[in-house]
Subunit: 392 residues, 2 copies
């Protein structure tokens, strides 16, 4: 019954529903003929026509030239106007700020990255963010006025309101109302989330976990975190603190990276951010000491992972973050330990999205937000479309 709206519907409601399913079909399938759309939505051709006409008038849909070379009268083709609005995803890490500009279909149009000092004061960091985003926008000749939503992923504990309760990696973040600060910068919806959770979302939408409804994402790198996709949705928890298994003392995740950093074979003078990678590479090449270090690391990793797998029984576990490049080295020992404990072993895969994981997740998060707004059940039939470009 939960799928049934508690309030009954009007005739116009029916049209809204049909318009939305048409939009959904158009977004998912590229340019589409009217007949195909009718097939997809289950409506009759005349009704489909009427719906599409309305959507075109609103600016949501546009016509594209018919595909030549077919038998019979060529069918008119329509497509969703993904370029009618824009979304920005931002990944604010301790050492880097990344931004990506996307259209309403989530296609990335431009990307920028800028280094940052972890201990930079707040003003400097905000300026870095602003530069990164505006660089991204200028690549496509846009301004912040063209943005519909900005979604941000950052390290630390972000509450439901976008306050940062705690951030070990970025001192200036502690206690900041990041959502409010960014709101001053961008005149559109601003969403703030934990970076691991957004990475999980990206993997479940366009990464190795695509199609899986229950996903556990392990963010392994210099910092550790997890993100959970449950029943196809990002799980935030009541206080937006879900996925913080890193705090479980018995798993030892807080100190786990040290096993790789201080494995004893890392050459002196190597920058600390490369140490773990060195150990992992050595393990791949068969160095016995490195292998032992990896084993110890995997053992700790396995405890928290086993807790997540036993509790949630996900379809797939995705290994992401900085160390995911070494998934070939990490996954076998991790799998071995899970097999000893878990009742059903989920699929174990390394991330394929790499460093862009969080930005992409932020974009997907913004798209989810957009989708929720498409039809908010109470007031606006269809969200006002393109205020900046009046239709004839």
């Amino acid at each position: 019954m939960s799928n049934i709206p508690s309030r009954g519907g009007d005739l116009s409601r029916l049209r809204q529903l049909n318009s939305l399913s048409a939009i959904k079909a158009l977004r998912g399938n590229g340019p589409v003929t009217l007949s195909a759309l009718a097939e997809l939505t289950g409506l009759s051709r005349p009704s489909t026509k009427e719906v599409v006409d309305e959507l075109m008038e609103l600016g949501w849909v546009e016509e594209v030239p018919p595909a030549p070379g077919t038998m019979g009268r060529p069918a008119r083709r329509y497509r969703f106007r993904a370029d009618g609005g824009h979304l920005v995803g931002i990944d604010i890490g301790a050492h880097n700020v990344r931004a990506a500009l996307a259209d309403l279909d989530g296609n990335v149009l431009a990307e920028t990255r800028q280094a940052a000092r972890p201990d930079a004061p707040l003003g400097e960091r905000m300026a870095t963010i602003e530069r990164t985003v505006s660089g991204c926008l200028s690549l496509s000749g846009l301004t912040t006025a063209d943005l519909w939503t900005v979604a941000v992923g950052t390290t630390g504990l972000v509450d439901t309101q976008g306050h940062i309760k705690l951030s070990a990696a970025i001192p200036a973040w502690n206690g900041l109302d990041l959502a409010a600060s960014l709101q001053e910068m961008f005149p559109c919806d601003v969403l703030v989330e934990n970076d691991s959770r957004l990475a999980a979302l990206a993997e479940s939408r366009r990464g190795v976990a695509r199609g899986s409804r229950d996903v556990v994402f392990l963010h392994v790198g210099r910092r550790m975190g997890t993100g959970l996709i449950i029943d196809g949705k990002l799980h935030r928890g009541f206080g937006a603190a879900a996925g913080e298994i890193v705090m479980l003392p018995e798993a030892g995740w807080l100190t786990a990276p040290e096993e790789l950093n201080d494995s004893g074979i890392v050459p002196a003078g190597m920058p600390p951010e490369d140490a773990a990678g060195y150990t992992l590479a050595a393990a791949r090449n068969g160095d016995p000491i490195a292998r032992e270090a990896v084993e110890r690391y995997a053992e700790k990793l396995a405890i928290g992972t086993a807790a997540a797998v036993l509790l949630l029984d996900p379809e797939i576990v995705v290994l992401g973050g900085g160390f995911s490049r070494s998934a070939d080295v990490l996954l076998p020992p991790l799998r071995a330990r899970l097999e000893a404990v878990c009742l059903r072993i989920p699929e174990l895969r390394g991330s394929t999205l790499g460093d862009e994981c969080v930005v992409l997740g932020a974009i997907d998060y913004a798209i989810d937000h957009l989708d929720r707004q498409f039809f908010t059940a109470d007031e606006p039939a269809l969200r006002p479309p393109f205020p900046q470009e009046p239709v004839s």
Copy 2:
């Protein structure tokens, strides 16, 4: 967008939606006047009337005498015919088999319980089940033909198909296709689930966790288990193995009850099933040795609980199962340990449903099943109502 059906709708679809929201309102609010129903569903009076007439014709709804003593013309009142079908919930434990008969609103009409030997052979156990249920039915003068759904909760690992993969407590269960066996006994839908999960469902629907969307239920007693309610729904996991945190070696849940059973103060000769209760009672009365045993128990309990809380950030954690009668003794040490580890402490409460927890959860599970069937999106507009009693 996930809330929007991908297939567009018909006029009849709109009527279906409205019928369903009417049923939903009628089920939730007891006898209701037409005006009130119109208010609840958001439909106009004439439309509401038409919907209700249709539902009455189908047999879903009936009229009740108007409430006297009001100003103006007395309004006709309608109510959902909860007695039009019946559900049975069964709790198959190692030592007991419980059954409860409920109407379509989940009101319990009759209840039975029968002792069982844990190591009884399969035939004997199935006979016990049959007797328990038929006793329950005869109390209300019904037969299995009146049943719409039978939902069963039992100890052990139940897969998505209703096979029992593993059951330590009931040897005869191992490898059994319980759903198929029960299907021979009952000519209706049969659902099989893990008992802890059903208990969790009951707590979230009619227990202390009512209204919470994210719940962690701890089944503590001679056996341990957990059930998760996530986003208001029972979380089963991809292979229906969710909630088995008991298998995590680091938490020591498998051996945790021994701390209470072998606390050193239990009088010799006391039956093993009363030992833990004795220790808990002694701790409540201040016995220092018992308190230490409870502390050790709580410490183990806290590890697995912390894992669940950190991962899921639930609104509330419910302590259920046999030891929940001693929640006053168990919760304080558990809370103390969670506070040391968790970022946000959820509400901690003891169960109030007691021994009936699993049966009630089974009934709620059957109701969920019914609700899913009310409108299955493809074929049947409204599920055929009361085949056994033809309407004029």
